[in-house]
Point group: C2
Chain length 354, copies 2
């Protein structure tokens, strides 16, 4: 493998000194980029794009050709794992993801296999290998997965949900079944992430998109516990370097201390949490990634720059900050505004280091 030329993202996650604050954007390879939309058109369906390693590599690299980003993130979907478990994922226009075979009964849960990442999910591992080669050591590659709880919401509901009646119904009335489902999913995710690391992912992020819909008690029992199980089973070193692990629970700002206790290297924060307060709460235990409101990118470049300055000031001087949006970049953002954002992070963060 080519030597890594820009490692400030990995260094910041491990709370080591950096020259400027590293930055990437959740969903940076996505619909706001015209070149992404063109590749997506060529690919066919969204899943066709995910399943084609060459095209997945192409869209992964697109934002890096436009912007001086400090990390690439594997282009894929969080629902590849349940799809590989046999739930038959498809994306209906305007409806989002749908599983034709949702998990509803004890028999459904018992029947769930743990996919072999180099077999049913080989297309993801091939994408990781293809991207690493194409990156040629320019920046590190982030691998990722959905959290067991987040995956379970789609698996039980059969798609997206507003009320989570079915999945929470199972959680409240059949906690034994829910624990079994989450344990199986956690084991599948652990193998999936370790395979990504073996294939070349240099950091991994666990996306707990829906953990924030739980009570504090249920979050600990049904979401955090299974992320802990994954963290305990992850390969933490590869190619002679540490592989940092980032945990992102959207809406998890009230539970940062418990998240830090899992032993991950960094926590992702959405924009509802004050960064200086978060830093005070987690102390030196973890790095923090975030957390500009992604809607700021609808504003003018001057306003974006002012907000970047405010977020940098909120974190303050010293190591342990990776700049990011507090959630994925929206599809209607002007790519020029994303560029203004990234440049502002690099320019304005110089004063906070060295």
């Amino acid at each position: 493998m080519a030597e890594l030329k820009n490692d400030r993202f990995l260094r910041a996650l491990l709370r080591e000194p950096v020259d400027i604050t590293p930055v990437w954007m959740m969903r940076q390879a996505g619909r706001y980029l015209p070149e992404y939309r063109a590749t997506r058109e060529r690919a066919g369906s969204f899943m066709d794009l995910c399943m084609n390693p060459d095209l997945a590599c192409e869209v992964t690299l697109q934002p890096l050709e436009r912007y001086p980003l400090d990390a690439a993130i594997l282009f894929s979907d969080i629902l590849t794992v349940p799809d590989a478990m046999g739930l038959k994922l498809r994306f209906a226009t305007g409806e989002g993801p749908i599983f034709d075979k949702p998990v509803r009964t004890a028999a459904d849960v018992e029947a769930l296999p743990i996919p072999d990442p180099e077999h049913e999910l080989k297309y993801v591992m091939d994408a990781v290998r293809t991207i690493r080669k194409a990156l040629d050591g320019s920046v590190p590659l982030i691998g990722f997965s959905g959290s067991p709880w987040t995956l379970a919401t789609y698996m039980v509901e059969g798609g997206s949900s507003k009320e989570y009646g079915k999945v929470k119904g199972m959680m409240f009335d059949r906690p034994d079944l829910m624990h079994r489902l989450l344990d199986t999913t956690a084991r599948a995710v652990t193998e999936y992430l370790n395979a990504q690391i073996a294939a070349g992912a240099q950091a991994v992020q666990i996306f707990d998109t829906w953990g924030g819909m739980l009570t504090p008690r249920d979050y600990r029992e049904f979401s955090l516990r299974y992320m802990q199980q994954i963290v305990d089973g992850l390969t933490r070193e590869s190619e002679g370097r540490k592989v940092p692990v980032i945990l992102f629970t959207k809406g998890g700002g009230q539970w940062l201390e418990a998240m830090a206790d899992t032993g991950v290297d960094a926590l992702g924060l959405d924009w509802t949490t004050d960064l200086s307060e978060a830093r005070r709460r987690v102390g030196n235990r973890v790095a923090l990634q975030g957390n500009m409101d992604p809607t700021v990118l609808y504003a003018s470049p001057q306003r974006i720059r002012a907000e970047v300055a405010a977020v940098l000031a909120s974190y303050g001087k010293g190591e342990g900050h990776v700049f990011n949006l507090g959630h994925g970049i929206h599809q209607h953002i002007d790519p020029a505004n994303a560029g203004a954002f990234i440049d502002a992070v690099h320019e304005l963060s110089l004063a906070y280091h060295g």
Copy 2:
């Protein structure tokens, strides 16, 4: 006016001793009740129902005929105020609320009138008077309004939104305009709530449904500040009794101290906040209302009872707790489960008082 027979809701909001914990449910007059659906059918559109004081009274009382609730809440919609400002509200099937004349420009903001509550919103005040008479002192009547920020999201977006691009775009790029819009709306809401109190509302709740979508800084500047303005202008005593004010920011669990500083009597909490922790944080300054996860009502009566016990234990002994769901009751809930919930609160809370 008839003497109030059951005042434990008002007493709990003022942190006075009660015999058992009072309980009501946000959206208790709603679609989960077959009798509501029947009245709604008769009324015509949703707004026809809101605008007919007799039918609004009928649906307000329906849950009280089924359950021993400790408060009634005016049946209305949070968008009546912007509708009365001339934005022309309608509800499109499957799409939610739509304003045909959204607020987008400086001229739109300048043109906004402050409605006279006894003229453009007389149908609401008539409903309050009709309901008070029909309640005949059985339980207190809660009046309500949306918060200025929450109303502004609909006014600028022209309806519901997922990304809040337009309203946050205005907030970021034209903060002067946004402040003007929020100030006008806050003045309209103050007059609207004071008119509800004059008409007979015995407590009022401000619903800040979308304040939780803001950063901590923007929350203080664009949502909390205007709720403070309202609180400062509210009639706090009527009919020789205090009129308690409840502030509910969904997703506001990280900002409870600042919310308590407004001088309201109680804070509404969603289910993502730990009640014992919240009580510790706000001390003796305010009562707390909440906060069972509304999806628990999909579970069995035994499970509902166990969750009620957990929420009561979390708050602990002593005054200052009004039991509620952490958000509105969902439309697909079995009314029998709502009954099991309310009975459990009354039965199990006896041990926490006296």
